[in-house]
């Protein structure tokens, strides 16, 4: 548990922050200065209502930063999760060597027959190896809601009966599955949202051929964005003969992966790359996830600078408007430290409010929002849902607190350095 927490700088930061909060609370409870700080903070917070307009600048400014940051990170997280969920540790994918993705791989008929004979593959009730040779191609289909000429690309997977045994998460949710040997298709739930005419009973054109959509399937991962047909018929349409793109196998045990991989690589008749599907799909998502995250952080940083200066402005004004009050406190014996702490706490409280508000907005507006992109390593539109996770909300709160900390520090220092006599004389 602790190891997991320590695996990133952010987690470390969180732990330090928690310790600081505990120390601060103890200090405020136990020491004289701490109690002073607590009472000054109380006064500041109770007068917040009089400074509602100004204080809302801090809250709304930070809410904007956190909202946008969390929404963009949720996009990268949703994309990553959709792809990595597609894979599992107990299935492996075999492709021709040095192929960057399934669609670029070609396995000839001989390889496709050899691969299922390797050690380590689980067997079904009839004793056959659970190995699914598949063909992955693209198809142009009209986009839903677009003009007649508006076509998009969808990934078409030609599968055999073992595809279902390899991927138990795939379920037919409407209609029926395709009949082998016929030009029939089933469409993923995500694909039906992106492309027109993917309803059971409808006919669609692939090139010059007419195919019938007979069912809808759902898997909850990136396969949802695909359409499936019988491998043999798809191979005919795309003139691929007996070749396939990949063979996905269910391992009898995740531990047998190494043996399975070694067996295939040692076979002189084969030139293939073997990977667990978990690893394969995680790798596919890496680049895009990083790009979206980098965009999120860049936009967030620029917005944070804007919000930070807004917070500075507000807190300087707050200090100025309370100059006499603060000077009075100092005159009757309050030290500088409690004043500094009080102003910092007030700013960070506002920041926390902003962070929570921004996170809440991002969650309300974007959690589960579906987006789509041309995914790296596939040849079709991949739809995925934005995922606002607890971790992302926590990141948002940390950003908010950081902005609040810096935004409160300088005004607090100024308040503590305020010359008592001049401040008292001010009107």
């Amino acid at each position: 548990m602790l190891n997991e927490l320590m695996d990133s700088p952010m987690a470390l930061f969180s732990v330090v922050l928690l310790l600081l909060v505990v120390c601060l609370a103890l200090w405020m409870l136990l020491s004289r200065q701490g109690r002073q700080a607590a009472s000054v903070t109380g006064v500041g917070i109770s007068t917040l209502r009089q400074r509602l307009g100004m204080s809302s600048v801090v809250v709304v400014g930070i809410a904007g930063v956190v909202g946008v940051l969390v929404a963009l990170l949720a996009m990268s997280e949703g994309y990553r999760e959709t792809l990595s969920k597609t894979g599992s540790a107990d299935t492996a994918i075999v492709m021709r060597g040095a192929s960057a993705s399934e669609v670029m791989s070609v396995l000839d008929r001989a390889s496709v027959t050899l691969i299922p004979q390797a050690e380590g593959i689980a067997r079904d009730a009839k004793g056959r190896p659970i190995a699914s040779p598949e063909l992955v191609v693209a198809a142009n289909l009209p986009i839903k809601g677009g003009s007649a000429d508006d076509e998009g690309s969808v990934q078409l997977r030609g599968v055999g009966e073992q595809a279902w045994a390899v991927r138990p998460q795939v379920k037919i949710i409407a209609g029926r599955t395709f009949t082998p040997g016929l030009r029939e298709l089933i469409a993923g739930k995500g694909a039906t949202k992106q492309f027109a005419g993917l309803e059971p009973g409808h006919q669609i054109r692939l090139g010059s051929q007419v195919w019938t959509v007979v069912g809808i399937f759902a898997s909850g991962d990136s396969l949802d964005s695909e359409i499936w047909g019988d491998a043999g018929v798809v191979a005919d349409t795309y003139r691929r003969g007996g070749s396939r793109a990949s063979v996905t196998v269910r391992l009898s045990d995740p531990q047998t992966f190494d043996a399975f991989k070694a067996a295939l690589e040692a076979n002189p008749q084969l030139k293939v790359d073997v990977d667990t599907t978990l690893n394969y799909f995680s790798k596919q998502s890496e680049g895009t996830t990083k790009t979206i995250r980098a965009i999120g952080i860049t936009v967030g940083l620029i917005m944070a600078i804007g919000a930070l200066f807004g917070a500075l402005n507000t807190m300087f004004a707050a200090v100025a408007s309370r100059a006499r009050e603060i000077a009075t406190l100092r005159a009757i014996g309050f030290r500088g430290l409690p004043v500094v702490v009080a102003i910092m706490l007030e700013t960070m409280l506002l920041a926390l409010l902003g962070g929570l508000l921004g996170g809440l907005l991002a969650w309300l507006l974007f959690n589960g929002y579906s987006a789509s992109t041309l995914a790296a390593g596939t040849v079709g539109k991949l739809s995925f849902e934005l995922k606002v996770t607890a971790k992302l909300l926590w990141i948002g709160v940390l950003w908010a607190l950081t902005i609040g900390f810096i935004g409160g520090l300088f005004p607090a220092l100024r308040a503590a350095r305020l010359p008592v006599t001049t401040a008292l004389r001010e009107l």
């Binding site: 307009g53 100004m54 809302s56 600048v57 709304v60 400014g61 904007g64 909202g67 946008v68 929404a71 060597g97 040095a98 192929s99 960057a100 993705s101 669609v103 670029m104 070609v106 191609v137 693209a138 198809a139 142009n140 000429d149 508006d150 076509e151 998009g152 690309s153 078409l156 692939l206 090139g207 010059s208 349409t237 795309y238 003139r239 030139k271 936009v299 620029i302 917005m303 600078i305 804007g306 919000a307 200066f309 807004g310 500075l312 402005n313 507000t314 300087f316 004004a317 987006a371 789509s372 992109t373 041309l374 040849v379 539109k381």
Partner: protein, 388 residues
Amino acid sequence: MKYLHLIWAALFRRKMRTLLTLVSIIAAFLLFGMLDAVRTGFDDAGKSAIGAQRLQTGSKLSFIQTLPQALDAQIAQVPGVKSVGYANWFGGAYQDPHNQVFSFAVSDNYLDQYPEIDVSADEHKAFDNTRTGALVGEQLAAKYHWKVGDKIPMQSTIFPQQDGSKNWTFDIVGILHSKDKKAGGFFDQMFLLHWKYFDDSTPYNRGTVGWYVSRVTDANQADRVAKAIDALSNNSDHETRTQTEAAATASWMKQLADVGLIVSSIMGAVFFTLLLLSGNTMMQAVRERTSELAVLKTIGFSSHAVMAMVLAESVLLLLLGGVLGLLLAVVLVAGFHAATGGAIPMAPVGADIWIHGLVLMVVVGLLVGALPALRAMRLNIVDALAGR
């Protein structure tokens, strides 16, 4: 104009506050400039004058399906087609399968379709005469430190050679320069090899072509020519789909991301915050100066003049911050473009972004100034001077 110094003085009455507000405004418009550059980059991709004269013909089935090379001669005969070239996706990668290179196996006349790409006559000739020759974009060459004369290994992630090896070797014979740096990001990343050599060397291609690129004599006839090209293969097993380059690129960009929606959501959040933030600054500024404004009215400034001055002050504040922010965006976008080698479509901050930006500055300035200006206009001299 004659009140400019007065407005300026009022604006910098509280230097600290104005400067802090200015930084916030700069940040907002910096973001606006950068995001609008990305949005324009996506919108404008493929929209060049030459691009409108170019047609792309691919398989109707899907973009990964190939077409017979025999179509070349037929397309060349279509009335309105000036010339036609073709290319195949080579799927090259350098050193590691994940270092993908935009590599195409192209027909001998492929470069003739792209007059906006510059290759010196000698290098073009060297390419024509070298079977294993390759032309590379200048940014790509710079990235991997390739020079003319280098022999480089390249993996194809799709096509093995006759012996089953996917390692190919090419001689770099020339460097491609795009004439229009603004639109040329992609050309500077390209790697071109001979289709003939490619087709002879791999058993997997067998005389097929990925797509055809044709130039039409008259861009206005492009749609008609596109239909005529598609009619060539109607009802065959290799039906085609022909689009102008602009339409094809726009379709890809749309599938890549709904950039417009993302950008406008972010900008919505940014400008809402900005409105509140600078609105507050102006409110404070006017509240503080109540007695000064009353003095102005006392000595004869009309209510409307006072209102106009407050409005001018807030517009000036927004313009100052906004222009600085956009200037910063100009520098950053240019730097970003150079750093990523144009991998992300990002237009330079040009005239239209400036116009958008300036309109936004004035509108936000007026909105922000409206309330304080009204307050200043309605100010009752006696009450204000008495501090009531």
